[in-house]
Symmetry: D2
Subunit: 286 residues, 4 copies
């Protein structure tokens, strides 16, 4: 990955002759320097996906003008597209419950600027991490989820997310089921880490399920949240070896290490604009 | 692993104080030299599992006498047990269809004596590998599986397996569903390689299922065959990374590499008497 | 990967504005349908690398005409380039000694057409695999390497390689050191599998070296052969976990599984024109 | 792993007939309940290693009496041995420089009691993590390492380590070379994480070395520190895949994830008394 200031053009459109030529031609015409490009054509659906990083100072204009000038080309190619500025950091709202591993991991990456995002606030249904989060200078909101107050609680979460102008919501082992309305309000913008190798072991207590089935590897899955539980588009997964001697307690412990790594990778792909939705699957330009 | 001539004692029994002392005491009393030992206590079920390799020539007697002398101890401890001789090779009957990768892999390992087994015959519902198998000096039996002749075909397979005194039947991508009666006749003695990371993608065309779900890793599972499809005790599994650019065709190709490796590992564990059944799970003393 | 008939354009040149536009423009102008593209810019050296697959029947001409028409563009961009035809299979000459695993593995892949190459002959300093190779209908040449006859032996190998119009020579655990003159005659065209995770354990008996050092993983490395032993550009590597209980004999056994897989992957990248040399490193467009 | 109160017996001795019988006999005689046992016989050196967990409340006495009663057996078997109490937590002194990932990771594990140790203090040559460490209620000592004050600095570190009765010193990316005298004062008690797959890329800037060599995987190594740089006994290692497109900056980023995981695993093995030295190698009973 390059470390300069750049713009990222993300697009998908029906596949045809001349897409690369048209887009690259436009960039070259304005003396744009291409730093990185990725392409993928889905042979089944006939859809084409692209991601291009352009050195910001090689272009004679800024994003607004890029958008204006590129619009006719995009329209001609029937593109879904967007262009983003690497200098504008995504705003990540983290939701957490009582498990520490993903939260510590994300804050360590944010602290060291490995993960280049803003964290406008952390929201939790418990108070355990209030001090830890605030020590980092990040606002902490305690929103308990009672049986009778669920509706109000999620309304408050949505209000906060809007107020801080969140770009993406991360469920860092939040352990609560997000109501369908919230899922549908932010398609492709709520990221969850599920503690199994989906589609195995959907739902509650996946490590117990894995133990009962006697699998020899366990996994973790980072995915976009949709109204159907644990069925959203998968961004990233990984597995780790276990054996017969490992208790459920051990599975939980091994699992934490891949959960936090898989979530961090998935989130990085998202905030670097490397993920495109392709139906219920994802295109991830690493 | 050691390469000398040895006996392997495999046992499980209710856990209690003094099991190791009793068994090791018996071995020491007869000057038996222990080469390798493994133990596992299942805290949930209170069952204890052990595997001990004893140098053959350190004992003053052979297996029959070992069995006679050890029987009272085993009875006192309520053991399920057996003792095997590393010099007596297991007889592996391979069933194959039209895919070559597992067959080539197993024969290469057999040929180089890495896999120390006898292969009394290979059975197939197709003729593709007749010449290849016979070139290795192994008898090849062609038993087609027609819709109307299934029953007779499996009876013939069972007859052949008994005739050659098979110890284990290996479905090396056999691609046919084994009838329940055959499964139940040989519990823990029929080994299959399933081309998914079970319990994900049970049944037909798992790579197509994996592609549709958009997973980021695919897997393979070596398991004992039971009457319920793809639900038997798992011996070994592994996964490999794929990405959005991989077609079903690519998944099949990547999958072959883990299928053959996982099958070979699982079979080795079995023929080296490293696997014990623990309900529908396995204890694998690597 | 796509399965249609296509041309692959592989090129590298000094990085500058407009390369993609120029090349994609040329292709689009002739109505070429791009199936797959990969790009990489080395920020340290300022060199740009690309690989483009074009559907063969989308172009109005064949390779000779492509070459003629594209030459001025390539010249203007100071390109090292070539274009290949997926219908013309690479000719792979395999050199083998007495270990079977890589040979069986490559022939299984060739047999099933997973590896789409021609194997005009297999050369060995031993006779062990003569029958096995010939059973596949592939000519086998026995060229012993005596202390006094080395020079003649390698001259004969080179003569055979030229005679069968070999595109690439594969040392499938050949276990002999190739003389510098032969290495230099075919830069980027002799592929070796070394049984360690280079640069660890260069030279003889790497598994013994690994055992002595007490490493917890062992590896295998597929690389282009150069005059300096085990120091050529690396195409592919992998590792596998071992533990204190594993003898050198076990390391050899585990190692074989990654050796054959790593060699097969590296060779596939090469024959699919996915590898470009970048000094002593490689660019591998997977 | 079990979660009860237990004692761990760790021992090595010359291999011979009857070791297990003698030790297990002693335990059974006192009604000791064995929770977990591991054994390894090094065929090359003829040395035998064992680790046994005994349920604490199954024995009629405590450690002092165990030691007194077991001593004659240990002497007869020429054992190096020790027995520890799972209720007595190891005291881990962490040394850190300016990189956050290992420190955050270890404190998260300590905080959640996944890593059951005491951390009597953190020592650093920089002030960056003073607030973070102290927020956790752990004393922080700032000991700068100047060119002229090295001797005094390390004397002060040793004094602190002794003062807090440290059991093990962890270099969590401490980035300083420990003087030989300190290494030799605590053999098998100073643990380092090296940011390469040793023995590759010893010394400074291993990621730069890896980038220059063009390897396709990078690694991390957790090892005991000895007077010879990066040459001590290896406890744990792992690797992660990279590709040609990754800059040194990316390698550093990928590397952090395996560094922290490998260090945490190695440290856990150590504090759970799972590691025995076998010359310059380790026996790790997972």
């Amino acid at each position: 990955m390059h470390t300069q200031h750049f713009f990222t053009l993300l697009a998908s459109c029906p596949d045809r002759v001349g897409i690369v030529a048209r887009v690259a031609g436009f960039i070259a015409e304005h003396h744009g320097w291409i730093l990185e490009t990725s392409h993928y054509a889905d042979a089944d659906t006939g859809r084409y996906f692209m991601r291009i990083d352009i050195k910001a100072d090689s272009l004679p204009f800024h994003l607004a003008e890029f958008r204006r000038l590129f619009a006719p080309i995009a329209e001609a190619l029937q593109m879904d597209w967007r262009i983003t500025d690497s200098a504008v950091r995504k705003r990540v709202v983290i939701l957490v419950s009582r498990q520490e591993h993903c939260l510590y991991d994300l804050l360590a990456r944010w602290q060291s600027k490995e993960l280049q995002v803003e964290i406008p606030c952390v929201i939790s249904n418990h108070l355990d991490f209030k001090g830890f989060v605030e020590w980092h200078g990040i606002p902490f909101h305690h929103i308990p989820i009672g049986t009778d107050t669920k509706k109000e609680a999620y309304a408050e979460i949505q209000r906060l997310y809007e107020e801080v102008k969140g770009d993406v919501m991360v469920l860092a082992r939040y352990m609560q089921i997000i109501p369908p309305e919230l899922c549908e309000a932010y398609p492709g913008r709520i990221i969850n880490i599920h503690h199994s190798f989906l589609p195995s072991f959907v739902g509650a207590r996946p490590y117990h399920q894995a133990y009962q089935r006697g699998v020899k590897l366990i996994g973790a899955t980072c995915h976009y949240v949709t109204a159907e539980l644990d069925a959203g588009p998968i961004i990233e997964q990984d597995t780790v070896r276990i054996d017969h001697g490992d208790s459920v307690h051990d599975l939980v412990r091994y699992g934490k290490d891949i959960e936090k790594t898989v979530l961090a990778r998935g989130l990085r792909f998202h905030v670097e604009d490397r993920v495109l939705l392709n139906g219920n699957r994802t295109v991830v330009f690493r």
